[in-house]
Symmetry: C2
């Protein structure tokens, strides 16, 4: 008996520093990581605390030393996983060139929502919406709205520079967000991804951006040519 997984490792080499409290954060992270994996596979209700405990390499009771209950663990897991990398991305300094800036932000967003965690989070949050509405609110605020604001500011800069026309300015960020988000979600769905070939993430983003730029390109001066559309 006893636990062979961790015991006996930490030899008392005098005492380098009192790391007594360090393990607390480690344990939490350990449990959170395990929770992500377990919840990702089975969702909030179908996941048993035992499973999380086993994945984390601790006993079930240990989880309750760090989180008051299953739901709180779930919530905290979502919170932390959503926030990973989000802040650093937003706080990156703006470039001088509006176009470069725009491209950089779009790429960051695209990267973020195409990491494998993202669709999982989206699914988990969506799945528990009626039970944990504040979580969905948090998600909407932190992801959808935040990025839309960021995108809009880049787009506005491009409009000021004359790269984009003014015609589609209103809601342009929403459109771009919709295109990117939906494509990321489609890519995460094997049925759809296979059916319409979205495997190459870069290619998909280029395609979306090309479409977006086409919509945003300034109108030609009013030369009223009736039907010059021949191929």
């Amino acid at each position: 008996m006893t636990d062979p997984s961790v015991t006996g490792v930490a030899r008392p080499t005098h005492k380098p520093d009192t790391r007594t409290r360090r393990p607390v954060e480690e344990r939490e992270a350990q449990i959170i990581d395990a929770a992500f994996l377990a919840f990702a596979e089975a969702g909030l209700d179908e996941t048993r605390l035992e499973d999380i405990a086993r994945l984390a390499g601790v006993a079930k009771g240990t989880i309750y030393l760090y989180f008051p209950n299953k739901e709180a663990l779930f919530r905290e897991m979502i919170r932390r996983t959503v926030l990973v990398r989000l802040d650093e991305l937003e706080h990156a300094p703006h470039d001088a060139d509006a176009v470069t800036d725009f491209a950089r932000v779009v790429r960051s967003y695209w990267q973020y929502i195409n990491e494998p965690q993202f669709p999982v989070l989206y699914r988990l949050v969506t799945g528990v919406l009626p039970r944990l509405p504040e979580l969905s609110q948090f998600f909407a605020e932190r992801v959808s709205l935040r990025w839309q604001r960021l995108l809009q500011s880049c787009i506005d800069a491009c409009i000021r520079d004359g790269v984009f026309g003014r015609e589609q300015a209103a809601g342009a960020a929403r459109m771009l967000h919709a295109l990117l988000m939906q494509h990321a979600l489609m890519r995460a769905n094997p049925t759809i991804c296979d059916a319409i070939g979205l495997h190459d993430a870069d290619a998909v983003m280029d395609r979306v951006l090309s479409f977006f730029r086409a919509a945003m390109r300034p109108s030609p001066p009013p030369t009223h040519a009736a039907d010059d559309s021949t191929h």
Copy 2:
């Protein structure tokens, strides 16, 4: 024993319309409707069979006369609710005019995904994805892919007519689908809907269509004016 769904019809009784078996379908529909309401509120796991039974006005045991278990009831509820109105829409005869046709199909799709049931179905299906992957496949096939094909055929017709340019032809239906779907989902999320004002469904659709048309408008002839963009 035997199959209750069809048996007894061939009775040579002189009664002209033996409605003997009519209640069977009624009961099923009754239970399915109640299941939709109950599942919509709490999801697959959190919904108790008792709740569904109470909503349907039957006893719990009765449900098991019509559905083998909870999961099958859930699946069947999704299947039927997804299919409602889908076929009739697709089978409507095509118009002669490509533009009118396009507008009609887009409006149908928009209507479909903005009915209050739709986001609920989307959420439910998304929520149980790892457990019932074939359901998500069904949903993807019946909604996303089917409509994308339909949209693409309308768009192609518009391109042939010169209304849309050829440049963005590839994946145009996917783009439009992404825009419409994501906007419908955002509209169903109170946090987002309130934050960016998407309450007026018609206005939102117009905005999306305007953006889409801007992207699809044929390019002007190649007058290579370098920087004519100054308003």
